[in-house]
Structure formats: structure tokens, C-alpha cells
């Protein structure tokens, strides 16, 4: 069997009878066994449970029962999401080991209901905010395109698993870019949907008013398939919105004629540190979309830098409220960067946090106004391709411009997708942002672009991943 690269392809193969869920699951488990010690994608792999779910999916197919396109599809979940089949660690030893014990988060419940096959729990930056710490008893995530480089965070493991073929898709979380950053540097596609679109019940919080659990996969189409399953109101999460969920794949026809795309030049493309190859690749992607009939113009996102800062201030404040008791009693037990970043919440006043929330109202209104003139905004996802892990530090991260937190602040859907490779063969990424609850158009543009390119389908070589063939 040739392993399908995408969920879409695997779903078709399962229905054509050219593969089975058992076959897909076994092949992925074998690959995880071979590569995980090098790549550090998974904290916990659950072969028995996965094979059980695969067998159940195959049994349903045999009976002619089809719960939808994710039936029999193996996927991975970030280890900050509760699953009844494995413990949840948040990639640290501080979290109560009984947290999340014995139940599934709503998203996992929905994935199981749709027939998904959970392979295991993936590595993250501790509590979705730290950075990898080699001194802690967790796998070190490696960028599969060049091992010494960062796999970014915080959903590093899911990003690695998707791009190196250790899962067909997966779940990440995103409070300031944690789904999109790892998608960007690992060469995956990741959609942070509108705030409130997906339940966060059963996920360790970072920033209560900013967090989301998000699809990550190779393609926009695959992300749409996952979002179709996990989206929807959940009474257990009061921040979810009781609105009907559209079929996110319905508009994925390759047609973008008349779609208005705004290129956010100021702040996003005029940073002196923006990697020139990234800029060139994104502008080429925009040109390609224009060639397909999209209408391109330049737009300005007001106070983009302040929006990034406001997002960080709210995130640190909310995270500090959650972590203060543990920071006070076991500061040193967190990873060496995690406590340092979480402690930042102590540096702001209550008034600062409320002021950031007042700015948030204003920014949301300004963005709603901007989306009256365009359907989608384009920005880079990251300042450039993956940097060397040895050169990363939380202080550098603060000093660097950011292109993702603005959309958590506004609560808008934002998707990262590959648009090429650097001269040293590292993935480059652009970000598409849509109006609130208009994920469908973001998917439409991303999918149309991916129909004409293969950047999202490329897989790192064994040599890049540092393993013998």
C-alpha cells in the first residue's frame, strides 16, 4: 500500500476498498516507532487503543455504516487535551497527574464519534507557552526538515507528525500563534478558527479568552474536514457559540473568481527583519490567486503592533491567574523558560489588562470594518523559516515582530499554509485571515491555491530527518 498523504486521499481509499483503517494505522504506528525517537513528535503513543478504533472503523465499513469522512482516519492530539485512553501532561511535571483522567475533551469525543483513530498525544511547549527543555523528561521536538532547527510552538509535535508523515492530521491549540507557528516552520497547514467555534472543554487553559483547539493537516481541505467534525456549540464551554456549522468543504471547488484579497503591507510586509524569500514566496502566491480571478488590493491593519502586544498582555494575565499557585510553590519545577514566561503576568496591573480588553473591542470593530471591503487578508505567518534552536530565547521572541497574535485578539479565523521553500529547503508560509465565522472563505482561498501547488504535499527526506533509509 502506498500511504496516502492526505486525509482526503485516505478517506477516498477507505471507501474504494483499496486500503483499510487497520492498514493505515499499522503503517503509521510502524513509522512512529522508527522515527519518533529522532523527531520527538509524540509523548505517548497508544497502539492498542488505536488498533481497536481502526478495527471498529473497518467493521463499520464492512456493515455499510459510514459516520463521515474521518471514519478510520488516524490522527494525533496535542498532549494538553484530555483523552480517556492516555494521561495528559501538558508536557510538564507540574500539572496534576489526575488532570483529565478518565474522560475525553469535547473535541476528542467528537473525533471518536466520527470514527477517527487516535494514535497518541503529541509534544508541545510546556503548558502551550514554554520552550523545549532538554533537562525535562519529555521528547525534544526537532524540525524534520533540519533537525537542529526549531519546530516552533507550542503545537510542535502535531506539526512534526503531520509534515513527516506520522499522522494524517491532528489537533493543536492556539492562543497567540501556537497552531500556525508550528504549521509554518514544519510545512503543514493549520487553521485557527473563530473564537467560540470549537469547544475548549477538556483542554488545559492558557489564555481563557484567546485559546482555541484547532485542526492541523497537510491541506486546507483536510483542515476543513476536521473542523466539520469538531466545530459546534458545547454547553460545557460557555464561550462556544450556538450557531449552525456549515459544511466547510462545500465551497472547496478551486474557484476564487471575485474573491477580494487584501495584502496587509504595513507592519506585516515592511519589517526589516522579514525574510526576503518568505516575502517573495507569499507575493508569488498572491499573484497566482490573482491569476485565478481573485481581486487583490492593499489594506492596512490599524495598530497591528499594539494588537500583538495587547494579545500578549491578556494572555500573560490570564495564564498567570491559572498558574500563580504553582509558580509560587514550584517555580523551578516548570521548564526553564516556562516559569519565566508565565511569571510575566505579574508585571502588569489590573488596569493594564482591562485597557488591553478595551483595545480589543476597538480592534475587533476596526477589523469588522476592514472586512466590509475584502474577504481575506494575507500576511506572512512567521518572520521567516525555522531558526536554529540554539539561538532561540523567550527574550528574542518578545523583541521580534509577530503576525499571529492579532487574530487571537480579534478572535478571527486565520490559517497558515505552505507557499514554498527557502534556498536551504525550509518551508515558507503565508497566513490567510477571514471575517468572524467566515472560515469557509479562508478555506476556499487556501484550497484553491493548493490545487495548483504541491508545497503542502512535500515530505522531508530520510536524510533531512537524520535516519537511515
Amino acid at each position: 500500500m502506498d500511504m496516502p498523504l492526505t486525509i482526503q486521499e485516505a478517506a477516498a481509499a477507505l471507501r474504494a476498498g483499496t486500503t483499510t483503517s487497520m492498514e493505515l494505522t499499522r503503517a503509521l504506528l510502524d513509522k512512529i516507532e522508527a522515527l519518533n525517537s529522532t523527531l520527538g513528535a509524540y509523548i505517548t503513543v497508544t497502539p492498542e487503543a488505536a488498533l481497536g478504533e481502526a478495527a471498529a472503523a473497518d467493521a463499520l465499513f464492512a456493515k455499510g455504516i459510514d459516520h463521515g469522512p474521518l471514519q478510520g482516519i488516524p490522527y494525533a492530539a496535542k498532549d494538553i487535551i484530555a483523552t480517556s485512553t492516555a494521561p495528559t501532561t501538558a508536557n510538564g511535571t507540574v500539572l496534576d497527574p489526575m488532570w483529565g483522567e478518565g474522560y475525553d475533551a469535547t473535541v476528542i469525543e467528537k473525533m471518536r464519534g466520527a470514527g477517527g483513530v487516535l494514535l497518541g498525544k503529541t509534544v508541545l511547549n510546556e503548558f502551550a507557552i514554554g520552550q523545549p527543555d532538554a533537562e525535562k523528561p519529555f521528547p525534544m521536538p526537532q524540525n524534520p526538515w533540519d533537525l537542529p532547527r526549531t519546530a516552533a510552538g507550542s503545537s510542535s509535535g502535531t506539526g512534526i507528525a503531520v509534515s513527516s508523515g506520522l499522522a494524517l492530521g491532528g489537533l493543536g491549540t492556539d492562543t497567540g500563534g501556537s497552531t500556525r507557528g508550528p504549521s509554518s516552520v514544519n510545512g503543514a497547514t493549520g487553521m485557527k478558527q473563530t473564537y467560540g467555534r470549537v469547544s475548549k472543554y477538556g483542554c488545559v487553559p492558557l489564555g481563557y479568552s484567546l485559546d482555541g483547539i484547532n485542526p492541523m493537516a497537510r491541506s486546507a481541505y483536510d483542515c476543513a474536514m476536521i473542523l466539520n467534525v469538531i466545530a459546534g456549540y458545547d454547553p460545557r464551554d460557555p464561550t462556544t457559540v450556538d450557531e449552525p456549522v456549515p459544511d466547510y468543504t462545500a465551497k472547496l471547488t478551486g474557484d476564487v473568481k471575485g474573491i477580494k484579497i487584501g495584502v496587509a503591507t504595513k507592519y506585516f510586509f515592511d519589517q526589516p527583519t522579514l525574510d526576503p524569500e518568505t516575502k517573495t514566496a507569499i507575493l508569488a502566491a498572491v499573484k497566482a490567486l490573482e491569476g485565478m480571478g481573485a481581486i487583490v488590493s492593499e489594506v492596512e491593519v490599524p495598530y497591528a503592533g499594539e494588537a500583538k502586544d495587547a494579545n500578549s498582555i491578556i494572555m500573560w494575565g490570564e495564564a498567570f491567574a491559572y498558574h500563580r499557585p504553582d509558580l509560587a510553590s514550584k517555580y523551578g519545577e516548570y521548564g526553564r523558560f516556562t516559569s519565566e514566561v508565565l511569571g510575566r503576568g505579574a508585571l502588569f496591573s489590573a488596569g493594564d489588562i482591562v485597557q488591553a480588553q478595551r483595545f480589543r473591542s476597538y480592534f475587533r470593530a476596526q477589523m469588522a470594518k476592514l472586512f466590509e471591503s475584502v474577504d481575506v487578508i494575507v500576511t506572512p505567518t512567521s518572520i521567516g523559516p525555522a531558526g536554529l534552536r540554539s539561538e532561540m530565547s523567550p527574550e528574542k521572541q518578545v523583541a521580534s515582530p509577530g503576525f499571529t497574535g492579532q487574530w487571537n485578539l480579534a478572535g478571527l479565523p486565520a490559517m497558515a499554509l505552505p507557499v514554498g521553500f527557502s534556498s536551504n529547503t525550509l518551508p515558507l508560509s503565508m497566513q490567510l485571515i477571514g471575517a468572524a465565522f467566515n472560515e469557509a472563505t479562508v478555506f476556499q482561498v487556501g484550497d484553491a491555491y493548493q490545487r495548483g501547488t504541491d508545497f503542502h504535499l512535500r515530505t522531508p527526506t530520510h536524510a533531512q530527518m537524520g535516519v537511515a533509509v
Binding site: S209, E306, D309, S312, I313, G343, R344, S349, E395, A399
Partner: protein, 62 residues
């Protein structure tokens, strides 16, 4: 009244936050604090939000 220096301010904020840290740990916050303070202060300088409502919602009934 004299404005306290950055280190004194940071030590005070961390202590008020319940964090009792070593000098090395405090130093990291001292280095970064001016950047953070400036970022927070910029939000107070935006005239358009002088009368804006914060983006928080509370409903009295569950």
C-alpha cells in the same frame, strides 16, 4: 515622590504576585520589564479607545 528604579519595581510586582525568586530569576524580568511597560503604556496612549468598553461579557444568569 521619587520614582522607584526598575529593579525595585519588578521586585515589588513579583512579590505582590506571590513569587519569591532568586536574584538570577529576578534579573530576567528586570531586563525585559521596560519593554513590557512601554507596550502596556502604548495602549493607554490610543485616543480612539478613551471611551471604549472592554471586551469582557458577564451574564448574571447562568
Amino acid at each position: 515622590m521619587e520614582t522607584p528604579d526598575v529593579e525595585t519595581t519588578v521586585r515589588g510586582l513579583l512579590a505582590a504576585g506571590g513569587l519569591s525568586l532568586t536574584d538570577t530569576q529576578v534579573e530576567k524580568y528586570v531586563r525585559i520589564y521596560p519593554t513590557f511597560r512601554a507596550a502596556a503604556d502604548r495602549l493607554w496612549d490610543i485616543p480612539e479607545i478613551r471611551y471604549e468598553q472592554p471586551a469582557v461579557v458577564y451574564k448574571a444568569k447562568l
